[in-house]
């Protein structure tokens, strides 16, 4: 090759190859710089800060494992971990189940674009606005929700001010907002299942529920796996709805981990301890994502 390259009159080809690399780097650069500056560096710095006592205004003081020792002994931290997991469970189960039904209905029942678009509309509302609106709707005294309940002759429900109702309510608010988006992702997955599968199913006399169980769900597994990873990671980071609607109350029953971290950092200026809890959350998410990836085998499909 080397010989032929030197003997070849047109020797620009190898140079062109080097050009490609440079061009590629140029295209990657914006994303890479953003990734390094806004993702990698803050993560590393956050991990460093978790070993310090830091109030943002005076330089950080190294204090070893103090923050982690405190975290292990902090009952509020463990409670917020429990509350977060409870929230994620309710949120994900509801959201995935409803989104799957909506997606299947979008594919099997209607072809209308506007109807498919309408499903996505709650997602266009910002989290904060959604929380504010539901805060008013669900208000114990004045909310239209409770007014309707009272008009039906039932007892008013303290949706956001009782420890039993608060997490399911916040989970439901976020399901309302995110279900359309999740449905759309699943819908995209459904489009990859060949129509011939369903034709074959119909030939064998299978009912719609049976085809859903035996064709749709198994073939959707990789997409569903990825959707679950995205939604679970997002769900663990619930913050805005809690900050607006309950501020962690009543008592600690909606004090999710993100809100506790925020409170410790920006309310109490303990950025070292807040960073330590953030690192703990990072670890939890890494482990969960890894396990999910393996369990759902999201990297392989049964289609081939």
């Amino acid at each position: 090759m080397a010989l032929s390259a030197t003997t070849r009159p047109d020797s620009t080809r190898p140079a062109k190859k080097r050009d490609d690399t440079r061009l590629a780097l140029l295209f990657i650069a914006p994303a890479l710089i953003g990734f390094l500056v806004f993702m990698v560096w803050p993560t590393l710095r956050g991990i460093y800060l978790s070993f310090t006592k830091f109030n943002l205004l005076t330089p950080p003081e190294f204090n070893g494992l103090d923050n982690y020792v405190r975290m292990v002994q902090d009952p509020v931290f463990w409670n917020s971990m429990r509350v977060t997991v409870y929230y994620v469970f309710v949120n994900i189960v509801l959201q995935t189940a409803i989104a799957l039904v909506i997606a299947v209905m979008m594919q099997r029942l209607t072809r209308r674009t506007w109807l498919r678009g309408a499903v996505l509309t709650p997602y266009l509302v910002s989290n904060v606005v959604a929380a504010m609106v539901f805060l008013w709707i669900l208000d114990y005294q004045l909310g239209i929700g409770n007014t309707v309940i009272a008009a039906l002759g039932l007892d008013r429900i303290p949706f956001l001010s009782s420890d039993a109702w608060v997490i399911p309510t916040i989970a439901a608010i976020n399901v309302w907002r995110h279900v359309g988006y999740t449905a759309l992702l699943i819908f995209a997955g459904l489009q990859t299942i060949p129509e011939t599968m369903y034709e074959a199913g119909r030939m064998d006399g299978a009912s719609e529920p049976r085809m859903f169980r035996s064709i749709t769900v198994p073939l959707l597994r990789p997409v569903l796996g990825l959707v679950l990873i995205i939604t679970v990671v997002g769900s663990f980071q619930v913050f805005d709805t809690v900050a607006i609607a309950t501020r962690g109350g009543p008592v600690d029953s909606s004090r999710v981990l993100q809100y506790y971290i925020y409170d410790v950092a920006f309310g109490r200026f303990q950025f070292g301890y807040a960073s330590a809890m953030s690192v703990a959350l990072l670890l939890v998410l890494v482990i969960i994502t890894f396990v999910q990836y393996r369990v759902t085998r999201a990297d392989s499909s049964d289609l081939n």
Binding site: M39, T43, G46, I47, Y140, S161, P250, V251, V264, L281
Partner: protein, 456 residues
Amino acid sequence: MTRRLLAAAAALTLTLLTACGGAGTGGRDGTIEYWLWDSGQQPGYQKCADAFQHQNPGLRINISQYGWDSYWSKLTSGFIADTAPDVFTDHLARFAQYVDLKVLRPLDDLGPTSDIQDGDYQQGLAELWKGQDGKRYGAPKDWDTVALFYDKAALTAAGVDPAQLQNLSWNPQDGGTFEKLVAHLTIDSNGVRGDEPGFDKTRVKTHGLASEGAGGGGWGQTQWSAFAASAGWQVTDKNPWGTHFNLDQPALQDTLTWYFGLKDKGYLPTYAEIGGSNSIGTDKQIQSGIAAMGISGSWMISTFSKLTDANGNKLDIAIAPTPIGPTGKRASMFNGLADSVTTLSKQPENAAKWVKFMSGEQCQDLIGQSGVVFPARPRATDLAIAYNKTERQLDVTPFTNQVRDKTTFLFPVTTNAADITALLQPRLDAVYIGSKPVSSLTGLNNQLNDLFKVAQ
């Protein structure tokens, strides 16, 4: 995505906010940036600013107002990102933390404010703003106490003579004449009063006493502090800068057992009824008829005087003093605001001039005549009393008599205030809701005491 969180928690704030620093509000060219949170006070202080600018032609005052919640987070990010104002309205619950964070300038070190005299202000107010180092970090601007606001119509309907409210007393055993009145003013959905047979405490239409929550955010200022103090209780061993807490004492625990017990009798709204963490205040509860009367602060006078019913008719609101307690005396928390100069100010001497002006006679008189708060100087306080009497036909002496009769106690000033609130608020909410007994506060008290052993 957790990376996003870490970014937010640690470095993003630093990088992004400092990046915006160039466009920040740090006053330049003789413009002094001044922040306050009470929109009601802005017109008064604008008058002060106009007078100040007239006297100091080279200087300009730019007043910004932000609501209570966003005020403190904006200020915090301002300190981090160098966009904090030159001068801001400071609260006793926050200033100790800011002194620790070294973001306040000692006023003694600045020319114009170095000669502020404690004696010029209502007794005890100026001393509260001295740090543990003995230096002054705030110039007194106003003060507040608490009292009972009531709807005259509710009293007339109940056949109660308003004069009776001037001499109410209470005790933690049977609640005294105060609880009798509260019971009588409570009405269930069938129109049966709280002290009548057949009263249904589960379906109450109007509660005798409004609730402003459990009081974990400000030591029960507008909830139970007046009762606990009139039973002889104090929050800490000494004030300011106490390091030992008294939440384990029977005087407090008996008071709270009685106070939150009113909720179980239907006389006080429940946590759910007032909207949980996003609770509505005494003013809204009286306005909407959920409550007949309630404890609130003197900073709410103008709000109460403007309340209207659903048809837009003005409500007839009047004020009565807090009831006399087991010690034979009334009590009210005595809290005050002050103006502080930040270390970020690039023109501290000019900032101090403005602070001095606001704590001086001319500005305080202007504030007194606007009738929104009680200014820190005694003469200006009298002007505020007169304003309420003539312009609003409102007798506000239930607030001022507490100061005259020396029945006030000062807002507890401590270090670690943010940590104390973080511990106190959920635990008191739990007692209010009823999921934890009052005796659980003994454990909380040990936690609070430990804060001062560990954190220092």
